[in-house]
Symmetry: C2
Subunit: 334 residues, 2 copies
């Protein structure tokens, strides 16, 4: 197996990315192809313990910046680590991982690697790290969507959660502004109907955002605008609450002592609800596994994203998504 | 001043609602007109200390339930406490407070009391209780909106924050999926342009949801669908984090002792970020002040909503909203 890695993408690239790849090389059963400036990569490889037999370096001169227009990945910066990495994925790779620009990665994956047959729009699927992890898709790529897009994501999300996350019979919810089936815009009413009629989707119904932390679902479908608002607000609120908690603990000597007594539990709590424990966000619907690691990934987060890419590629979930969509199409024609 | 109160609306009605009104009667400079079943109201009034000279009772037989169609307030349940209360508001009242169905209250206020001249859609404006309180509108009533609706809400929200919340020069943000002006749907791009060009709106720009807890704005405008997702997720995440915190504290004897040491700070934190400290959500754009108290309001929350209604009525913010919209219309015609 060949996992292609964008060594230059992300806020902490290249050092933390390469360090994460070095750590991963000690456990993965795959070749990791680091794409980026050869001298920079080699200099960093020298710093961290790694399994040399599992690492290859592929030179790419350019770098896609976070504020670049996403289209540069296919026009303008085709010499970049992301663009070259996606080409290698298409030609001879099994998975791709990048912590670079989400927009560029989605555009590049769609245009250079192509969608699976039958997939209209690939979705970014973020895993919300609650007690029952929830795959939220789309979480930012597709701003305007159709009921059919949401239906496809119900399939792709269910298959990912089953194959890669080992959830036996994933339950799908529709993010909405109320639980009744008449709620939301015409998009939601129509999608509710479609999902209810699908015998092979385990549809729960509408889910209100207040219930996301205790979500009874494994997959939550929504348009990319709403998904982005929900994903980022979850992150923002966690950060705010943890920061407020810290200010409670540092208020006095007594409270500082209490902090020491609770330190382990608080660290456990942080780790448990840290999304990078699971890796990154798969872009579902692309013909090969593509993982978007968080922009601020450190070595640990990036290593987890690589391990996730390995599980995703091994699972053959992409084949199953294609088969499921073909079966649905055949059903509809009958 | 006459503040009309829906004594039968809300999860904890009538007891907690009437208790809140009794508490408020001891401080307000207004007559509180309790609308609902006379015998029930009188029975509850007997239980709680109140200023008799400030309370009137008005009998209404019916009750609007949470799952009733919102239209029953104008057709079908016109004998209900909410419907009769809105009639009294229109005829001879200065403000109205209800913890009943949001949909029915918005519909009833719009159709029975009417919008201010020039207002196309009244918005539900929820105050998010962060260090810098943020007025989020619309937070649920108007699912599909136009740039012009959002612009009007920028005005109404700014005037409310200035007049009622005493914020000197309120800053307005547009909730979006990125900070660049090209972000979002055509609605967002067009609204960004409109708000930028308004000399009398203090426009900050786009605000991402992750920044809501540290929002640099006093007013955040959005469509009612997105606003509802954001509002409820803020509530859901707070609840989730506080519950998780509790489980950390009750894990062991040591942690329980730490809890005792920190009890006061934790209670302060809860109170500080409890939206009911501010009262309820004003419905902005109606010709008279209407406050939607949270459905699960207890006496304290409902009392705060009554005090807020008093401040709102005293502020004459409704007159100012009408004047501001008329001035903008005149400007456009010139």
């Amino acid at each position: 197996m060949r996992i292609i890695i964008d060594a230059m993408g992300g806020d902490k690239a290249p050092e933390e990315i390469i360090r994460g790849a070095c750590d991963a090389s000690l456990t993965v059963n795959a070749t990791l192809v680091l794409v980026g400036r050869e001298d920079v990569i080699k200099e960093n490889l020298a710093k961290f313990k790694h399994d040399q037999s599992k690492i290859e370096v592929f030179h790419a001169e350019g770098i896609i910046e976070m504020d670049d227009d996403p289209m540069v990945v296919v026009k303008g910066k085709t010499d970049s680590s992301m663009s070259e990495g996606l080409r290698l994925l298409k030609e001879n790779g099994d998975a791709f991982v990048s912590a670079g620009s989400t927009g560029a990665l989605h555009t590049g994956a769609t245009l250079k690697v192509r969608n699976l047959r039958g997939v209209r729009r690939a979705a970014i699927a973020a895993l919300l790290p609650f007690d029952r992890p929830v795959l939220l898709l789309d979480s930012g790529a597709n701003i305007s969507v159709t009921p059919d897009n949401l239906l496809q994501w119900a399939y792709t999300g269910s298959i990912y959660m089953n194959r890669v996350m080992k959830v036996e019979s994933p339950v799908v919810g529709l993010l909405n502004n109320g639980t009744e089936e008449c709620k939301g815009t015409p998009l939601h009413v129509e999608t509710y109907k479609l999902l209810s009629e699908c015998g092979d989707i385990n549809f729960f119904g509408n889910v209100e955002s207040k219930d996301i932390p205790y979500c009874p679902c494994d997959v939550l479908v929504t348009d990319g605008f709403t998904g982005n608002i929900a994903l980022k607000l979850t992150e923002g609120m966690s950060k705010f609450m943890l920061k407020s908690l810290k200010s409670i603990f540092t208020a006095s000597v007594t409270s500082k002592l209490s902090y020491l007594a609770l330190k382990r539990q608080i660290t456990d709590f942080r780790t448990r609800y840290d999304s990078s424990t699971y890796g990154g966000a798969p872009i579902l619907g692309i013909s090969k596994p593509v993982i978007k690691a968080h922009g601020n990934s450190d070595a640990r987060a990036f290593k987890n994203a690589i391990l996730q890419a390995e599980r995703f590629a091994e699972s053959r979930a992409c084949d199953e998504i294609e088969a499921a969509l073909a079966a649905r199409k055949a059903q509809k024609i009958e």
